[in-house]
Symmetry: C2
Subunit: 110 residues, 2 copies
DNA sequence: TTAGCCAGTTACCAAAAAGTAAGTTGTAGC
DNA sequence: GCTACAACTTACTTTTTGGTAACTGGCTAA
């Protein structure tokens, strides 16, 4: 979670700080389906670099949106999953998908 | 509205292209209250520069989210207002405000 | 005629975000 | 000992975005 000092006064700005870029939303969308390891996540999001994936995962973990679990299998794996807080974003994601889909149809039919 | 070529395949990416930065959301939030002229809008959003306001308004007008009306009063004014499409974003804004507020309370109480 | 308001634009600079590609650590199987 | 895989990190460059501040141009009221 953010500290009180990092928290913007505006609720919407808070949202943007936490998940206001396309990569974070894509990561959340992937993790809705199932928990994934780093490389699996990397493969499932076309175009993202390892560097950007890594930094976004760190920020989302710090924000409390996802969990990072090291699994002592062989080879050792790291599993990223949505936290409860992350799950609570699903209605927002859903409404974005719905609105975006409607807009696409509007454009395509014009 | 965007053209078919500018439209990303992913609905969420479409959303980000149209209103995926804090300034655009702030602009929409201001215009929910009432239509505003350029300078009034500029004064009502602390920290935004005229340049960035101007370019964001252009993009949002092109996307069909807002309307731009020149009013032949003296002095001549330009009025920016939410279009019907822009109004349809209100549920998303509302859910962002709600989620952001909840998160803020979580942080403040921890 | 000069000062002021509205609605911007322009040129230039700084900061933030993202892309590229190679390197690192650790473990395991052959 | 070599190869492979998972999970990253690092150094460097490019692109995008945003900020500063000054300027334009139409109109008006004193």
């Amino acid at each position: 979670m953010l500290t009180k000092e990092e928290l913007p006064p505006c609720p919407v700005a808070t949202c943007f700080q936490l998940f206001g870029n396309k990569w974070k939303i894509y990561i959340i969308q992937q993790l809705i389906e199932q928990p994934l390891g780093f490389n699996a996540l990397h493969r499932s999001i076309p175009g993202i670099s390892q560097k950007v994936l890594s930094s976004n995962l760190k920020e989302m973990d710090a924000a409390g949106l996802i969990t990072r679990t090291v699994i002592p299998e062989t080879p050792i794996r790291t599993e990223y999953a949505l936290s409860e807080l992350g799950q609570s974003l699903m209605p927002i994601i859903d409404s974005l998908v719905e609105w975006g889909t409607d807009y696409q149809q509007l454009v395509r039919s014009s």
